[in-house]
Amino acid sequence: MSFLTIGGAPGAPSTRRSFVVRSGALLSGAAVALLAGRDALAARAASPAEGDVRVLNAALAAEFEAVAAYGLGVASGLLQPPVRALAQTFQGHHREHADLLAKTVARLGGAPAAAKAEYAFPTESLATQADVLRFAAKLEQGAVSAYLGAVPLFADRDLAKAAASILGDEAMHWAVLRQALGEVPVPSAFVA
């Protein structure tokens, strides 16, 4: 199945398939199958090592926190409208990641991690737009490292591929935030 064919025509009704395409994530065949309800294909990945579910849940917990962190930034009143719009876009990406991860954990027979009722953030150090951007950039940098550290752990290589596609998205967030801060957007040839 081609990722180019599952989204339908522009303006087509929103479906789970078009959601996958809109996310911009080139998901693995297994992950797409999980989301699209193709149980026969998904069943091939339905008996993963328990470790895969644990890795997915660790990522899910971090994605929930990222959604909350961007929510904090958006609600802070510190962001100029274009930056606020950017934060909302990135928050939406993290929400999509969380949605995918939760559904995948559930389809694999695990219990998806839940979002916390509240998160601790260093609000006392967020006084300007630059503070918020720096805080977000740090989280995104950490997310890149976390996914980089998670990808080799998956027993199922399709899940590793899906996680790598999320890693790419987080890296773009990090670069854009660095650019907004006036920093070199891509500081090195490799991430760690």
Partner: protein
Amino acid sequence: MLAAALACAPLHGAGGDASAGEAIYARCAACHALAYDRSGPRHCGLIGRRAGSVPGFAYSEAMRRSGIVWDAPALDRFLADPMRTLPGTSMAYAGIADAGERADLIAFLAIATASAACRGSAGR
């Protein structure tokens, strides 16, 4: 304050370079912070602390029962390959393969987790 502490620290004390370790600590920032719990527990007070003992943090059963006390050798073993060193841990991370990087990170943690920035937060 923390930067000043690092600037004053013996850079290669205990086998690691704390300044280099600060940059490596950025990799932990998806899940950890020094002074507050995130999806991973806070690091303030880490050195000498029994694993799984930060009040109120929801640890894995494996971590709670590990019997680990976080000193430099224990951190070195765990950070090299968390999921193999402690099967069942929630820390889903491949680890830091480079022994020098681990030493740098541990040198940073030794200073940062006992710094003024941590005062009052380690046992919260």
